[in-house]
């Protein structure tokens, strides 16, 4: 047992206490505070880990889990996102859910725990367990709303999707297990490097796992229904789904890719390449046609993860022009955190707006709620990758990494996709600009204003002065 | 070459079981009669012993009515499943050191699996009958059996913890010093409850009690197909009794008398206990039955398991 397990233990305790409290005495306030306490303690313990010890001492692994400075940072990011969403949750639930508000926190914590586990998993068993913990909690989160009829439909769709994904992943795991007789990542990494090029069966196993992960990341051939789920689910669930779940899944994808000799596996590489290109283009093209801001975000997230897939090509690629072997990792971390921070911001802004689903509901927002509109615009620009925002720095890192590793071919697609992306990001802004009628709007509370300013400042300041952030990431990775 | 005894033993066991099941109907009626201060069947043969034969002839010659509205195949298969599952269960029971059909390492899991499978029989009977009483009865029975199965398994685990094995033979062997009823009184009680509910005997016979919903899942059954449900139920009672004997009362172990006699005696005692239960205890309400199971028996079963483990660990070292 080491200090590394503290966050997970904290979350576990919080979950049990919360469950008990809900059973004995239903109180929204109480549930809110217990969740907050759990998340904060987990986050602080994780941060103190980062602070206290030397970075290289963070590495620790046992049979099922392995911790590194990278995983610690990712966990902090994850917990940060959870905390940020949690902060907005109380108001939102008060406004939108008539009864049974408390279980939402429970599911949130469970999903968080699952994601946390995925980030540090080092064994197919632990990975699978955490994944399912997360996915099943998400089904609950998505189907949560009873007032909203579409929510159940979205829930069942997500359930089937995630079940299919897990089935495929499991099949892949089983095939690999059949081939190698081990479920440990470490074992795979060690034994695949020095054996002959992987066999047919092994490749099939990898492809099965990939398909499963692609479902989780909703990348292109597996992207159906994603937008439906985004639209039907309650907003905080959508926010969690698109941040927490994707973060964890991508980390696993990266981890798997990092191990073994996938890089030499031409079939897998081709597959990923095709998926990356298709995701970039199709994600953004489909987003063009959407009329709901949530669907736009859903499809744009497809293409963002398409961009991220490019980075997978850089690992183990020898032609590094910058003599900096960890740079792709830095870029990955930077892009991932930039995107997730921005997206969390976007969702929390949407959570503050009453009519959030359709694009028309945002008409004239600039004049009725200037701060909301301004922050939403900045977030959109960040997603589009306009300079001085966090999103741009992410994209800059990504492009730099891929150019320095001479992986040029995806870049034209990236440019095309980005330009297509501009269309709909700007469309959101334009809708907010149109109609000068000043609608009556309820005054914002101080907390709301504060969090909006926080989003603006975070996105802008990290985008304008990324030095500190970049150095942190470098020290973590290097 | 297969030994003759390997074929003979099962055959004898099967015949004995069927006869025992048949005569336990007689036993029940006689005993109930005695406890209710009346005679019970006493006309056919000495003490009415041949009443069973008469009943059998009657049931065989009844109209073999398959309702036209029923799902025919399932309707016929359902009672077969019950019979087969219950009879299969006896395959793993060690009647005596040398009379046993098969020795499984995971015999207890086999028992649990069979009892789960027999739920199918009831569900299929209810569904295929296409009658409201039957369906209601089937739903109730299924819910009841499923519920009680959870803590039946958990209650059994107390024994497993002490014996360290799923094998019934080893469990019996482990009772050479003392019977597990002594170390597992709570587990025994739980298992008894669960057993009664599993074999849906009174007082837990609500799904098929005449005063509740006619005859439950076999409302539409007649002739031998009804007879199979009927015999299946008695077989179930004998099976649970045999299990209790094996798990908590030392199985075939006993002084002086040959093991098989000890086993039969103990089992017969529990069969009679079951009959006594029917005579003595009133039925609870269905919702009471269910919530009693989930909110009392399940926690108790978990607790029992935990306590047994603590007990075993403190004694084990």
């Amino acid at each position: 047992m080491s200090l590394h397990y503290l966050p997970a233990i904290t979350l576990n305790i919080a979950i049990l206490v919360l469950l008990l409290v809900i059973a004995l005495k239903r109180s929204h306030q109480l549930a809110f505070y217990i969740t907050g306490a759990g998340l904060f303690i987990a986050c602080f313990s994780q941060c103190s880990l980062l602070r206290a010890s030397h970075l290289s001492e963070l590495h620790f692994s046992d049979e099922l889990f392995s911790f590194s400075s990278m995983s610690v940072v990712l966990s902090v990011l994850l917990l940060g996102i959870l905390i940020f969403i949690w902060l907005q949750l109380h108001t939102w639930l008060e406004k939108h859910e008539a009864n049974h508000k408390e279980e939402f926190y429970l599911l949130l914590l469970l999903a968080g725990l699952g994601a946390l586990g995925m980030i540090v998993s080092e064994h197919f068993a632990s990975f699978f367990l955490s994944l399912e913990l997360m996915s099943l909690s998400f089904v609950g989160l998505i189907a949560y709303s009873q007032s909203q009829p579409n929510s159940q439909e979205a829930g069942i769709k997500y359930l089937i999707l995630s079940a299919v994904a897990s089935a495929f992943m499991l099949m892949g795991i089983a095939i690999i297990y059949l081939q190698t007789g081990s479920l440990s990542f470490q074992y795979l990494a060690e034994n695949l490097n020095n054996t002959t090029p992987s066999s047919m069966l092994f490749t099939i196993g990898l492809i099965f796992i990939l398909i499963g992960l692609l479902f989780k990341l909703s990348l292109v051939p597996c992207h159906l229904w994603v937008a439906d789920i985004f639209e039907g689910a309650p907003l905080p669930s959508t926010a969690l789904l698109s941040t927490v779940s994707k973060l964890a899944s991508f980390v696993v994808l990266w981890k798997l890719f990092h191990l073994g000799n996938w890089q030499e596996n031409q079939v897998v590489l081709t597959l990923i390449g095709m998926v990356a290109v298709a995701s970039m283009l199709i994600g953004n093209l489909l987003a063009l046609l959407q009329n709901s801001i949530l669907r736009i975000l859903a499809f744009s997230s497809i293409s963002h993860f398409g961009y991220l897939l490019i980075l997978l090509f850089l690992f183990n690629h020898n032609a590094d022009l910058l003599d900096n072997p960890t740079f792709p990792l830095e870029a990955l971390l930077f892009y991932l955190s930039a995107y997730l921070i921005t997206l969390t911001g976007a969702f929390s802004i949407l959570m503050k707006l009453e009519e959030e689903k359709s694009l028309e509901a945002l008409t004239g927002l600039f004049w009725s709620k200037p701060l909301h509109a301004a922050s939403l615009s900045i977030v959109m620009l960040s997603l589009a990758g306009i300079p001085l925002t966090l999103g741009f720095m992410g994209k800059f890192y990504l492009v730099t990494a891929s150019i320095s590793y001479q992986v040029i071919w995806p870049l034209p697609f990236l440019v095309i996709a980005s330009v297509i992306g501009l269309f709909f990001y700007l469309r959101v802004i334009m809708v907010m600009l149109s109609s000068t009628q000043t609608r009556h709007s309820s005054p914002s509370t101080a907390g709301e204003v504060a969090s909006l300013w926080f989003i603006i400042l975070l996105v802008m300041s990290l985008g304008t002065f990324p030095a500190l952030f970049a150095d942190t990431i470098k020290s973590v990775v290097g | 070459m297969i030994e003759l005894s390997a074929l003979l033993t099962p055959l004898i066991i099967l015949i004995v079981l069927l006869l025992a099941a048949a005569w336990s109907t007689w036993l029940e009626r006689r005993l109930l009669g005695i406890w209710q201060d009346r005679l019970g069947p006493n006309r056919v043969g000495p003490f009415g012993l041949l009443q069973v034969i008469a009943d059998m002839i009657k049931i065989f010659t009844k109209e073999d009515w398959i309702p036209p509205f029923a799902d025919k195949a399932l309707f016929i298969i359902a009672p077969m499943i019950l019979m087969i599952m219950t009879l299969l269960g006896f395959a793993i029971i060690p009647f005596s050191p040398d009379i046993q059909i098969v020795e499984f390492d995971n015999a207890l899991l086999f028992v649990l699996a069979l009892s789960s499978l027999s739920v199918y029989s009831i569900m299929l009977a209810g569904f295929s009958s296409n009658s409201k009483y039957a369906l209601l009865g089937a739903m109730r029975t299924a819910a009841q059996m499923l519920s009680y199965e959870v803590f039946m398994g958990l209650a059994l685990m107390g024994v497993v913890v002490i014996a360290g094995s799923f094998s019934l033979n080893e469990i019996v062997a482990a009772q050479s010093d003392y019977w597990f009823i002594l170390s597992q009184p709570l587990g025994f009680l739980l298992f008894l409850f669960a057993g009664v509910a599993e074999s849906h005997r009174a007082p837990f016979d609500l799904p098929e009690a005449e005063t509740e919903i006619v005859a439950g899942f076999h409302t539409e059954y007649a002739s031998m197909k009804f007879g199979m449900f009927f015999i299946g139920e008695y077989l179930g009672v004998i099976f649970i009794s045999a299990l209790i004997t094996t798990l908590y009362f030392g199985g075939w172990q006993g002084p002086m008398l040959p093991p098989i006699i000890w086993f039969m005696l103990k089992t017969a005692l529990f069969v009679m206990f079951f009959i006594l239960l029917r005579a003595a205890i009133p039925r609870p309400r269905y919702d009471q039955l269910m919530s009693f199971g989930w909110s009392v028996l399940l926690p108790l079963a978990l607790l029992n398991l935990l306590l047994t483990a603590v007990w075993q660990l403190t004694l084990g070292f």
Binding site: Q152, I156, L159, I160 | -
Partner: protein
């Protein structure tokens, strides 16, 4: 005993049947059933592989997958009941409120 190859083939077959059912069936309950069949195929493969390699990892995975199957069905059935209450149908094609 039965050769492992046959078990493996059977498990692949089960998986394929499940996948096919998933794609072709329109009733939600059958979709869930197909998923279970897929999972059963996987379970079989794990156990077979575990037997082949002589370690217990596969059997542990078997338990975990079993748990997954159970919880999936639990959640799925709850949703199916809800949806049936709403729509009086379990046809996947009627789940079209969220389209476009």
């Amino acid at each position: 005993m039965i050769e492992t190859t046959w078990v493996i083939i059977l498990s692949f077959l089960l998986f394929a049947i499940g996948t096919f059912g998933l794609l072709s069936r329109r009733n939600l309950l059958f979709v869930l059933l197909s998923l279970e069949i897929m999972l059963n195929g996987i379970i079989l493969l794990f156990v077979a592989a575990s037997n082949l390699h002589g370690n217990n990892d596969g059997q542990i995975m078997y338990l975990l997958v079993l748990t997954l199957a159970a919880s999936e069905v639990a959640v799925g059935l709850a949703l199916v009941v809800q949806i049936y209450k709403q729509q009086q149908s379990l046809d996947v094609d009627t789940l079209t409120k969220l389209r476009g």
